[in-house]
Symmetry: C2
Subunit: 488 residues, 2 copies
Amino acid sequence: MTQQATKSAAIIGGGVIGGGWAARFLLMGWNVQVFDPDPEAQRKISEVIDNARRSLPGLSDVALPEEGELSFHDTMSEAVAGVTWIQESVPERLELKRKVYQTLQEHCPVDAIIGSSTSGFKPSELQGCATRPEQIVVTHPFNPVYLLPLIELVPTAQNSPEFIAQAKEILTEIGMFPLHVRAEIDAHIADRFLEAVWREALWLIKDGIATTEEIDNAIRYGFGLRWAQMGLFETYRIAGGEAGMRHFIEQFGPCLEWPWTKLMDVPELTEELIDAVAGQSDAQSGHMTIRQLERARDNNLVTILRGLKAQDFGAGALLNAQDKRIGEPAAMPADPSQPIVTIRRAIPLDWTDYNGHMNEARYLQAFGDATDRMMEIVGCDADYIANGGSYFTAETHIRHLDEVHAGAKIHIETQVLLGTGKKMHLFHRMFEGDRELATGEHMLIHVSLETRKASEPAPQIATALAILADAHAKLPKPEGTGKAVGVK
Amino acid sequence: MTQQATKSAAIIGGGVIGGGWAARFLLMGWNVQVFDPDPEAQRKISEVIDNARRSLPGLSDVALPEEGELSFHDTMSEAVAGVTWIQESVPERLELKRKVYQTLQEHCPVDAIIGSSTSGFKPSELQGCATRPEQIVVTHPFNPVYLLPLIELVPTAQNSPEFIAQAKEILTEIGMFPLHVRAEIDAHIADRFLEAVWREALWLIKDGIATTEEIDNAIRYGFGLRWAQMGLFETYRIAGGEAGMRHFIEQFGPCLEWPWTKLMDVPELTEELIDAVAGQSDAQSGHMTIRQLERARDNNLVTILRGLKAQDFGAGALLNAQDKRIGEPAAMPADPSQPIVTIRRAIPLDWTDYNGHMNEARYLQAFGDATDRMMEIVGCDADYIANGGSYFTAETHIRHLDEVHAGAKIHIETQVLLGTGKKMHLFHRMFEGDRELATGEHMLIHVSLETRKASEPAPQIATALAILADAHAKLPKPEGTGKAVGVK
């Protein structure tokens, strides 16, 4: 990155929201000066920053700037000295906010931006009695502020175009997406949706229709997955098929008049409104056909679902439970004389790369899964690992023999080359049908998860491994064993 | 999987929803018998099934059952012969649906389950004039049906507990999550939320506050990401901090009475309602502390965001744009005599595994990224690849020297061992500070993306590679080059 003078931001009011802002600025290289009268502020903000340090930097595939410096100040005047940005996240009381701005503006640089985290107040209300209203703007974030990119940037006519442009630039610089809300309304945009759903949810609970858990499941196993990637209108555009948004809204519009909810003040679906929705949707997504949108949606959904699967959470936990139901339990083969089929699966959509085929790292992921399966077969399963023993891979040699694409059904055959003492030496061969795609040769070492050092496996594992190694020793050595890169 | 007699499902009414059901059953091993009077039905359903074949099987890490058989039928009586499940997805007109049930029940097995995809009708309305009302139940899916697990299962007192249990079992078997809606209401549960948001969105467009694209961005860059994994209440439970849901609702409850929207019939926030919400939330999430929930949420969000990044979509596209802004452009080094730092980054949360450290496949992912960077440096960049040339990895040797954890800052130094003709032989060394974590030795072959065969690189690439290879030839061979697995 290009070196630049470190800029400073003042955080007025800590807590979860102020702390999230502090973390964003800090981890993106800004110095952060905090003012918060809460005696617990330092602890609370540090906890949020710890969470952010754990999660934010790894989002990038390049190094972030060096962390800035964090300081805590006893007065607002000290906290705002020399800053470029001031973020106000004090409690949602208009009088309090106005008082804070008065103090801030007595001491802060006149060209600093004062952003408010308010979810409810309009910027004109905040600017009300200010000395320099043009310096104040709504910049409403979403929790966790250090991970979610959305900022509702709501200016008024008091804010100059240059001021707004600079605010957008700084928000973008710290990794956020400034959504320029062109007309101020109560609760901006996103919170109107949250409020609408919140009210509806409270009715459902009050009327005994659903519990909090049932409501969460109704969201996260269904439309929540759609909204993480496309939102409302692009999703419905697809539902309209090749006829697009106009078809969708003409088809579904009338349903709005059904007596479905307790909240029934709906806009009349005039030709004008239909035109507006359809036209805006064309401008938004018209560069992609419905078929392309469908594929993008499915790629995104598969990626999200498989990601949640790796975390064993939400819809991903459902998929893991399904695998457990469908898959055969790991067991020593009745006839140990042949290589063991350790993996049978289809190549997921998210395993392919810019070359249009399975990415090299996913070959190793599949071989790693084959190794995990072999570990389970010899008794190194989740229980054993929870008790402190495991195998770590020390060395790997992969030969890529042929390409393979998403959807292809592959299997992996595994031969034990050595299984004695701390060592487990495996040879995996990956096939699509009869076509050999790759081989993976792996040396694993049994370790104690406490000492993280090599250790002897439990006797039952040593025994099982020896049975397979002895039986497989009678098989021919597979082609490619013991080879080094570039050596014939 | 255990072998079982293949079961059959009838799909009454194709289209996007019926086609999605057909795909689910088919890919989970059921035979599928379709009835749809639309002359285009076969084409439309086949398109949906093609999408499903591309995306669904790879969701599983084990092989799905063999696909069932798909057949199209001219009459309902033929389509329902011998089936276990009948899914009705005909247009949303009550009289039509009732007529369909009459015909179905004249011909179908009496113990088959008739599920309706209706989003609007209550099951008692569907059962109204039926011969055997106890056979009919609402099973409302979400598009795309072949990927989203949610099914709203809405029975009435007419349906026996055994019938409901069997319906749940079958839905689970085909990979769905049956959400048992205990009391029938118009629009069930999820669509009430969708309706509420839809109405609010139409107001915003009608009043000129936001466009469809701005609304989608307000969702997918913010709360949509939260709702893909936790839903509404578990997210808010975290926002309440250690004091949990009761604190949240007591703090935010009053906001419900603000004049924020045009839809203002809100439930009164009585002690009783607060108790219900807080108690249900405890039952749902009380087994995890707020700190644990925060970490689970952040793990999920990082996983989703990085997944979308790989797809270059939504919030992931924002992150890619940020990397481009922050990262240095690839360029030949001014001094080519030293190994090149190809990667500087932090280890993401989603790169660790059950052993608590970075998973072996992620080492190769990082080395693969280092190789990509080296390709860019010598001129094999996105433009060059778009013009039909690229490098494919033929062979890889990894030595895992030490563990590394999420959040650690790593860098990779790359030495060109050979760069002549079609070959590029690279040696990567991964470090955390001075601590060497792994080495990766890789043989790459230049290919034509058209023929998928080895080919000569463009002259400018050959020249750049030769400069680096010549300069790096004067460096000592790094330890571990030319080694085979298990060979000292």
